[in-house]
């Protein structure tokens, strides 16, 4: 069964790029454009990994992560932060990795492979 990645990203171009990248490399994807939608999908789908944009229309990434880590069934899901904001590396302290846009696709894939 394919490993499932939830992409939380409000920029459709970046979201499409990530979907294509992950699906071409054998992963199943689901996507959300807001933190609230992302959390509902996460509760329903239990993804194996989440990529998280920091600046979402309804919420900032750290606040989403706080909610995620308070959920018993989701708290151990690996999260990768992907953001265009400087200083994003330290925004979610328990994220398994952080990438600044534009990012290296091979580097991202190798991190994903490491965790799922």
């Amino acid at each position: 069964m394919k490993k499932k990645i939830l992409i939380i990203e409000d920029d459709p171009a970046v979201a499409d790029y990530l979907i294509t990248l992950f699906e071409d490399n054998g992963y199943a994807t689901i996507s959300a454009t807001s933190a609230q939608e992302g959390f509902s999908i996460a509760q329903k789908e239990h993804p194996d990994l989440i990529t998280l944009d920091l600046e979402l229309p309804d919420e900032w990434g750290p606040r989403f992560y706080r909610k995620l880590s308070a959920d018993k069934t989701l708290k151990n899901t690996p999260v990768i932060v992907i953001s265009g904001l400087s200083g994003n590396k330290y925004a979610v302290s328990k994220a398994v990795a952080s990438f600044s846009k534009p990012f290296d696709r091979e580097e991202l894939l190798s991190v994903v492979q490491k965790y799922i």
């Binding site: 920091l54 600046e55 919420e59 900032w60 990434g61 750290p62 606040r63 992560y65 706080r66 880590s69 904001l85 400087s86 200083g87 994003n88 590396k89 330290y90 925004a91 302290s93």
Partner: protein
């Protein structure tokens, strides 16, 4: 709670994180935001020649130059201003801390928001081991709370819902508690009341290991005592408010405060500003003071905005 925000800025990268928080607060809490910039320091008293704080160049000040700087700031914060309803920009000359205190006295803001030390974010700030000197001078005597956002990571929360109040049981901490509790009630936040038991008073680690006054039993006795003190001082003041936690951790105080904030995903830290040396009157209404090192280190390292409160806050 936050109806009038004074955002004191150097209009440089060092204040970008503070700008993100200050404008977000203005939009979120429907507040008026006053952007305040001290553009230059007069070369001598009442001189028209000033040293531009951004470029370091000596310039002749006139209305045109003032307007030019105001317009530059308008452009610099254009992205945030366009989403903000009630804003103003004010530029002046003088010593930054004096001018900030002066406008704060006139404007009576609910909070002053500032960035970290100019050109000293990230690793360099820790090498310097101090917050900005302007902040130190403002925070010691301001009559309102002062918020500092030093790290970019501290600016990615958006609003307050999980507040950490760190206490050293001082009088200034009492004022900080009053402010923090009013804030958590009004904004319906989760409230963490925290004390860090300082176990670093030993000369070094060897002393710590062999000194019998530092057995684990005595440390845990001290933790229990501090816990009782927390309950005695604050629990009775919480009334019907139930969404709180009280904890004492032992260690190096600033490390424990930052760690507790990170572990509990705090989006705001409130603490007392305690001076290390007595306040000295330097004429007029101003006082020179140094900030307590614990607050200073927390400001430099925290993953969220930090508000410090001195013992003058709330006085008329």
């Amino acid at each position: 709670m936050f109806k009038k925000i004074l955002f004191a800025t150097s209009a440089t990268e060092a204040c970008d994180h503070a700008a993100r928080v200050a404008f977000d607060m203005a939009q979120r809490y429907n507040a008026e935001i006053h952007v305040f910039h001290v553009l230059g320091i007069p070369t001598r008293g009442y001189s028209q020649m000033v040293v531009d704080v951004t470029t370091g160049e000596e310039i002749t000040l006139d209305d045109n130059y003032r307007d030019l700087v105001r317009e530059e700031i308008r452009t610099y914060y254009d992205h945030q201003i366009e989403k903000t309803e009630n804003w103003s920009i004010d530029v002046t000359t003088g010593l930054p801390h004096r001018e900030i205190l002066r406008i704060a006295r006139d404007l009576k803001p609910d909070i002053i928001v500032m960035g970290g030390s100019t050109g000293a974010s990230g690793a360099y700030a820790h090498q310097k081991n101090v917050t900005g000197s302007t902040y130190q001078r403002v925070a010691g005597v301001a009559r309102c709370p002062v918020m500092v956002i030093n790290r970019p990571a501290a600016s990615f929360w958006g609003g307050f819902s999980n507040v950490l109040f760190a206490t050293d049981f001082s009088n200034a901490a009492n004022r900080a508690f009053d402010f923090a509790f009013t804030l958590v009630k009004e904004l319906q936040c989760e409230f963490h009341i925290f004390h860090a038991l300082d176990i670093t008073k030993s000369k070094d680690i060897t002393d710590f290991q062999i000194n019998t006054s530092h057995t684990q039993d005595t440390i845990e006795d001290e933790i229990r005592k501090a816990g009782e003190q927390l309950r005695f001082k604050y629990a009775s003041r919480l009334g019907d408010f139930k969404n709180y936690a009280m904890e004492v951790w032992e260690g190096i105080p600033f490390v424990e405060i930052v760690k507790y904030g990170r572990e509990h995903h705090a989006d705001l830290i409130v603490m007392a500003h305690n001076t290390r040396k007595p306040e000295v009157n330097i004429g007029g209404n101003e006082t020179e003071a140094a900030i307590g090192s614990v607050a200073e280190q927390v400001i430099l390292r925290a993953n969220c905005p930090v508000i410090t409160i001195n013992r003058s806050v709330g006085k008329a």
